[in-house]
């Protein structure tokens, strides 16, 4: 394989791992989901690199697209963030306006 191919692959997988870690470490749900969607799109790119165009199409449509939309909907439903411990009592029952993002 060419060295530019290698460079691209390594950059791609490094970004993938970084996005995965960021998506899971992020406290704000909305941000977490957006990072995950970005992760999904890069995964689709990786499938192209691995000569798997069928999977790339499915990943973009289903993996990133539908899953992303479902996650956004769920994040909106559970409005808010995964609060750091301990939760402050006055934050309980906070009004519906604290949607992140």
């Amino acid at each position: 394989m060419t060295s530019s191919g290698w460079f691209f692959d390594i950059l791609l997988v490094a970004t993938l791992v970084w996005l995965a870690v960021r998506a899971l470490a992020e406290v704000k749900l909305f941000k977490s989901v957006v990072l995950f969607i970005a992760f999904g799109l890069l995964v689709a790119l990786a499938w192209v690199r691995l000569s798997a165009p069928d999977i790339a199409l499915a990943e973009a449509a289903i993996g990133a697209g539908i899953t992303g939309a479902l996650l956004l909907d769920a994040a909106g439903h559970m409005r808010g963030r995964a609060e750091p411990y301990p939760a402050s009592p006055d934050a309980e029952g906070a009004s519906g306006g604290d949607t992140d993002g």
Binding site: V27, P53, D54, A56, L57, A58, A61, I62, G65, I66, A69, L70, D73, A74, G76, H77, G80, A82, E83, P84, Y85, P86, A87, A91, E92, G93, A94, G96
Partner: protein, 239 residues
């Protein structure tokens, strides 16, 4: 109301780290030890591609050689949809009129985009025979078009009938199953496509699968729409 803490206790994290380190080491060793010479089943797939009825090897595996996997996979999808509907507040999957209040910009966009998306979906379905594409990709695009129409208020009347919704969700699985059983009645085995009909039958199955997958995606969104009471309670109602 209770908030969710962001982190687990330190003991849990240390234990999790130990488990992950173990699994990671095991996995890394294992994947690096995979022989580079094992050809897998690729030669066998190649040898039989000509009689499979399609030219795309992945489609041949999915719909013909391992069509049984795909049949069960559709069952998973239908099952998940029934599960989601059983958890939704209305349980019917009918679109709530309040949630469907259309935005003029969105309607204009939908009017333009939906026909294009339906065309793309048709292309992906047809292309799956010889190039990347197929029922799932086509169905997702169709579903996206439906969600767009539903959000802009157009699709509502279609989904009000509960039976129509149920029929659309299950039609792909039912047609796939009927084809499979038809082959048994015709003297073959389960999912044994007669060579001359293979291409046609697979296209029929894929077409209905596309419709079902589209309907399933739309109903997943409809089912997840917040129920009327909750929307009213949040007097803002803007969401």
């Amino acid at each position: 109301m209770g908030k969710v803490t962001a982190k687990s206790p330190i003991a849990v994290r240390v234990a999790a780290l130990a488990i992950c380190a173990g699994v990671g080491a095991l996995l890394a060793r294992a994947v690096l030890a995979i022989p580079e010479t094992e050809p897998g089943l690729a030669p066998l797939v190649d040898a039989n591609l000509a009689v499979s009825g399609v030219k795309n090897a992945v489609t041949a595996v999915l719909l013909n050689f391992r069509g049984y996997d795909t049949l069960l996979e559709i069952a998973v999808l239908v099952l998940a949809t029934i599960g989601v509907l059983s958890l939704s507040v209305t349980q019917t999957g009918t679109w709530d009129p309040i949630a469907a209040q259309a935005d003029p910009v969105l309607s204009a966009l939908a009017r333009f985009l939906a026909p294009v998306m339906i065309l793309v979906s048709g292309y992906l379905l047809w292309a799956g025979e010889h190039a990347p594409g197929g029922a799932f990709q086509a169905g997702s695009v169709l579903g996206a078009a439906g969600v767009l129409l539903a959000l802009s208020g157009y699709a509502r009347p279609i989904w009000v009938s509960r039976f129509a919704l149920r029929a659309a969700i299950s039609v792909g699985f039912v047609v796939f199953l009927a084809t499979a059983i038809g082959e048994m009645l015709a003297g073959g085995l389960l999912l044994e496509y007669p060579a001359d009909l293979a291409k046609t039958l697979m296209l029929v199955v894929e077409t209905w699968l596309t419709v079902s997958i589209g309907a399933i995606l739309i109903s997943l969104f409809i089912a997840s729409a917040s129920p009327a009471e909750e929307l009213r309670r949040r007097s803002g109602g803007g969401e």
